[in-house]
């Protein structure tokens, strides 16, 4: 199918992008890698009048070191994120989860910022960003602001970004010593979205688990933290991971669809959380 007609703007800086999206008004839409947006346009499920293509905004691409955080430009492709040495060193969880997204073609076009802005609860990066405590940097007509991951995801496909704001970068705090991680994804066919996914970050101290942060994919209309598991794991030894993981679905409200009814998803969340935490601690 062919999208309905639209105007096309291709800014080359964040400032230009912000003014272009402001000028486009209500029916303007940002285009990043196009992997989610273009199918929607082709199916004519959306009719933006203007597309603002961020593909030429060089300052939004790449990963850099910024002291206690690494900064991932919103327009960095999944492929580049997966193969970035800073990501490998300071946030291997991101690289691992990104590697489970779709296929090489999609990963060469889709972007880190596009996936997070799109905020599909079945997307893998939201849970990872929550667990890592990332900060989202947005630019709008009023300037730049930072949004905590815990404040970013509002609802299904809805974020804290205002319609005239551009997500420019994501700050990923560097983890100190003792942290390890694992992303456990469950899907029916290799290239499919998560039925449920679990992002686990664990800090070991003297053999026991000092601290754990668990993010869940597709267990509600937004990515969520499994707070009850996190508190059950604090100070626990590895032998009690299974019991702690039993709380993984507490308070969740997952969807029912062709891939799974809600109760099955809740069951999966418990099983996968156990597996993710055990894999993170290396047993």
């Amino acid at each position: 199918m062919i999208p309905a007609p639209f105007e096309y703007v291709r800014p080359s800086s964040v400032a230009e992008a912000v003014s272009a999206i402001g000028a486009a008004g209500e029916d303007g839409k940002i285009l990043a890698g196009g992997q989610s947006l273009i199918p929607v346009l082709r199916l004519r499920l959306a009719y933006p009048t203007t597309l603002v293509d961020l593909g030429r905004v060089a300052e939004m691409q790449g990963v850099r070191d910024d002291g206690d955080a690494i900064v991932i430009g919103a327009m960095t492709t999944h492929h580049d994120v997966m193969h970035d040495p800073l990501v490998a060193e300071h946030a291997p969880l991101i690289a691992q989860a990104t590697g489970t997204i779709a296929d090489p073609q999609v990963r060469h076009r889709g972007t880190f910022g596009g996936a997070l802005s799109h905020a599909d609860p079945a997307g893998d990066l939201g849970a990872v960003a929550l667990a890592l405590g990332c900060e989202f940097v947005a630019s709008g007509p009023g300037g730049e602001r930072r949004i905590a991951a815990s404040e970013f995801f509002h609802d299904y496909l809805t974020t804290a970004l205002a319609p005239d704001e551009v997500l420019t970068q994501v700050r990923v705090p560097k983890l100190g010593a003792g942290w390890s991680s694992h992303y456990e994804k469950f899907n029916r066919v290799a290239q499919a979205w998560s039925i449920v996914g679990v992002a686990a970050l664990v800090r070991r101290d003297n053999g026991s688990i000092a601290e754990a942060r668990i993010g869940l994919t597709n267990m509600g209309s937004t990515p969520v933290r499994a707070a009850a598991v996190e508190s059950a794991l604090a100070g626990a030894d590895v032998g009690s991971v299974a019991a702690a993981a039993e709380h993984a679905a507490d308070g969740t409200n997952p969807p029912s669809d062709l891939s799974g009814q809600a109760d099955y998803r809740q069951h999966l969340a418990r099983v996968l959380t156990k597996r993710a935490v055990l894999a993170a601690v290396g047993s």
């Binding site: 199918m1 062919i2 007609p5 029916r188 066919v189 029912s256 062709l258 009814q261 099955y264 996968l272």
Partner: protein, 818 residues
């Protein structure tokens, strides 16, 4: 002096890479959508978003005024000339065919049906203008569930019918004289096992979407179409639209897959011809992937009630099959016949004394169904192979022992079955023994026991499927006895060029099978010419005027034999020329390696190329001999061929998540004499992928309103290589005795055999949990529910039937049995 064998190495049996792959794989070739002709306009179809509704008004005024739009047509514009989308298979004399308009006129009967067509200067303008067509519908209740559809008082899909039942087709061995009466077997049974199996609806999902381009010319048209059946399409367009057949030319350029999905004559083809002729302008239409999934025909979709009877010692005594087969909203080209093809295959490789097969073809408000790889035979093989396992459990017998006890022994061939077919050859023992050894059956059984004993969260299951199929469609008289609208012969011609090169014309129109390679190998061997010197001409009714196209694993077993027969005629014609040139007696000439020699006197010889040159020059020919050694042949098989095989599958099931992983898949297929082992392997691999996909991944799901929920590849989960194991494929060779090459078909074997192997393996793994059936596709959720519901969940099914075949998800696949 040592005699040097100058004959080229035999081509038949060589694992040659396919000639056609370079252009097919790179796409640097002519697909229909790549083509254009001067002045061509583009079409876009407006499709019904409703499953069942009357069209109360339709106003294209706004669309007509959109930029680039040349015309907009609705059903009213063509209702007097469009006729019906043809169905060539009235399976019973009283089959009800309510008619199938290409463009709906006043009622729509499935979501996706064409209701209007926009003609514009560009494809984009045509699609934009669809939104300018103002159409109003008055909804009618959808008809989705076959069990409900056949009840008295059910909503009728078609107002001009009295019931949603199109036909009831019955075969009973007592009445047919092919076996004992089924009622006796049922009455006297020591053991009876009954099941309802659900053959879910599948989408053929060929890679190249359907596309058609039409150029009008005077009274006729030239049609390029991504079709499997250029020859049949030509006849059908002539008959349906009243066009003079000799003014209709149909070309199937390279076609990117079909799997049966490009067999029917389509509404889109007919609409394109109508528009091109109405405007006297060339037009092109290419469907989008969404349109393809929604509106190109679907496959399978049957409810199978099956009962098997046996003696306590495990001798099968009877088989009773009752099918409800979903035709969807309309009868397509061979749609009604697809489940009937299964009628001959439920008895499979077994000696079953009594058999009944009843099939009811049912209308629903869903996409029409028609052939999909295997067409009727996978469904039959699934049902018999699943119920053999259940019978084995009931008898406390090993499932392979039960099969061995009942199958036709090697020395019993030829064997006439209870369904009336005569199987020419086979060796089930050899294929099975080889497969068991290759998979390491006994070790796997031991491992299974260990995992059971230790309550391992990962359980192992072993599945068997033995199969045979009738392929090489088909002896024309058999098709005639089944009321099929055409024969089953195939045509070939061989043209010898003056430089010794060879053109082979075939009526079998390939869409990815490898005809260009395999057929060249046959001709190279027959005529003793180089493989590279043979060119295949196909897929254009102007150059290959006669043919019945490609489906039903027929191209080699029927089309290949036509080529062999044509080659024999070429040799006979060349023999006369050679005898003349050698001044010898025809009867004294030997032909081998492409050369004629006088027996016993080496030295002087005339090659087939010399004969070709001699007739081109025509300076020195025997009296009364025409200057040509070209020949053609039309071959009608006397019988089907019956490939068979044993497929074994080992699955690991993660009982915590329900995920099934195929650990090992071994198949030993017997497809007779191999022409090209590499092509065979390719066909088997692709077939396995599709059969396994039915078991584990694919299902076309409709919602309560009759809309296709699995309308994109996000929801219609086709597997990729990453989801499939590395297959072990081996062969035994029992040549067919019904054709001179000894070949049997291979195109559908993998699809037919693999589905029950996988499902039997899953059920085998889950038996300790009280599970004795699982519905396809066996998704992780269904498997998990089967384990944790003790077989009581609808998702798992059991001896008690499912609550109908409604694939609506609103009542939840996770719900309890209703």
């Amino acid at each position: 002096m040592t005699a040097v064998d100058e004959r080229p190495e035999a081509e038949i049996g060589k694992a040659r890479r396919r000639k056609e792959d370079a252009h097919l794989i790179t796409g640097r070739t002519r697909w229909t959508d790549n083509l254009s002709v001067p002045g061509m306009l583009h079409l876009a179809m407006l499709r019904s978003p409703m499953a069942h509704a009357t069209i109360t008004s339709i106003d294209p005024t706004d669309a007509r005024s959109r930029p680039g739009v040349v015309a907009v047509f609705t059903g009213a514009d063509f209702k007097d000339v469009q006729g019906n989308v043809p169905c060539a298979w009235p399976v019973t004399p009283d089959m009800v065919n309510p008619g199938a308009p290409s463009l709906a006129v006043d009622q729509v009967n499935f979501a996706g049906e064409c209701v209007a067509v926009v003609v514009a200067r560009s494809k984009a303008e045509a699609q934009d203008a669809l939104e300018g067509i103002d159409i109003e519908y008055e909804p009618l209740p959808p008809v989705l569930d076959m069990d409900q559809a056949v009840k008295d008082g059910a909503t009728l899909v078609h107002p001009n019918t009295e019931s949603n039942r199109s036909y009831t087709w019955v075969f009973e061995s007592g009445a047919a004289g092919t076996g004992a009466p089924i009622d006796d077997a049922l009455r006297d049974a020591e053991v009876t096992v009954s099941r309802r199996f659900v053959q879910q609806r599948l989408i053929p999902a060929f890679m190249e979407p359907r596309a058609v381009m039409v150029e009008p010319s005077g009274e006729g048209v030239t049609v390029w179409s991504a079709t499997q059946i250029p020859h049949i399409l030509r006849v059908m367009l002539a008959l349906t639209l009243g066009l003079p057949e000799h003014k209709v030319r149909v070309i199937a350029p390279d076609v990117g897959g079909g799997f049966g999905g490009k067999i029917p004559v389509t509404p889109e083809e007919i609409i394109s011809v109508l528009v091109a002729r109405r405007l006297n302008k060339p037009v092109k239409y290419t469907e989008s992937r969404s349109e393809s999934l929604m509106a190109a025909h679907h496959g399978r979709d049957q409810l199978q009630d099956i009962t098997i009877t046996a003696t306590r010692d495990g001798t099968v005594t009877g088989l009773d099959v009752h099918l409800l087969a979903d035709m969807g909203a309309y009868l397509r080209l061979v749609g009604p016949g697809v489940p009937i093809l299964g009628a001959f295959m439920y008895n499979a490789i077994y000696k079953i004394p009594a058999y009944r097969f009843v099939c009811e073809g049912i209308f629903t408000t869903k996409t029409p169904t028609d052939a999909y790889r295997g067409a009727g035979r996978p469904e039959a093989t699934f049902a018999i192979e699943r119920i053999m396992d259940e019978l084995a459990v009931e008898l406390g017998m090993d499932p392979m022992e039960l099969r061995r006890k009942n199958w036709i022994k090697h020395e019993e061939f030829p064997f006439t079955t209870v369904a009336g077919l005569t199987y020419d050859s086979g060796n089930y023992e050899a294929a099975t023994d080889k497969a068991l050894e290759l998979i390491g059956w006994n070790d796997l059984r031991a491992e299974q026991q260990e995992r059971r004993d230790s309550n391992d969260p990962v359980q192992l299951g072993l599945g068997i499927s033995t199969f045979t199929e009738m392929c090489g469609l088909a002896p024309s008289r058999v098709l005639g006895s089944l009321s099929y609208g055409a024969g089953g012969w195939e045509h070939a011609a061989i043209r010898m060029l003056p430089t010794g090169k060879v053109e082979v014309v075939t009526g079998a129109s390939p869409h990815g099978q490898g005809h260009e390679t395999a057929f060249a190998q046959i001709v190279a061997d027959k005529l003793g010419v180089a493989f590279e010197d043979v060119e295949l001409i196909h897929g254009d009714t102007a150059s290959s005027h006669k043919g019945l196209d490609t489906y039903g694993s027929r191209s080699l077993a029927v089309g290949g034999i036509a080529i062999v027969n044509a080659a024999d005629k070429v040799i006979e014609k060349a023999r006369k020329i050679a005898a003349h040139l050698l001044e010898a007696n025809e009867a004294d000439l030997e032909f081998s390696g492409g050369k004629f020699r006088v027996a016993g006197s080496p030295g002087s010889e005339v090659g087939i190329a010399d004969a070709a040159l001699a007739v081109f020059a025509a300076h020195n020919l025997p009296d009364g001999v025409e200057p040509s050694i070209d020949a053609e042949a039309t071959y009608d098989p006397e019988n089907f061929s019956f490939p068979h095989g044993t497929h074994l599958c080992a699955v690991e099931i993660d009982t915590e998540t329900g995920m099934t992983k195929i650990r090992k898949y071994v198949c030993v297929d017997d497809v007779g004499t191999p022409i090209n082992p590499l092509i065979i392997e390719g066909q088997v691999h692709g077939g396995l992928a599709q059969g396994i996909a039915q078991a584990l991944f694919e299902e076309a799901v409709y919602d309560d309103a009759g809309n296709l929920t699995t309308g994109t590849f996000v929801d219609y989960t086709l597997p990729s290589a990453a989801d499939l194991p590395s297959f072990t494929t081996e062969r035994t060779e029992t040549p067919s005795t019904t054709n001179p090459l000894g070949v049997k078909g291979v195109g559908e074997a993998g699809t037919i055999a693999s589905t029950p192997a996988v499902v039997n393996a899953i059920v085998d793994a889950l038996r300790p949990f009280g599970v004795n059936d699982i519905r396809m596709p066996a998704t992780p959720e269904r498997v998990w529910r089967a384990i944790h519901g003790g077989g009581k969940h609808r998702a798992a099914g059991g001896t008690t039937a499912y609550g109908g075949a409604s694939t609506s998800t609103s009542d939840g696949d996770g719900g309890d049995l209703q």
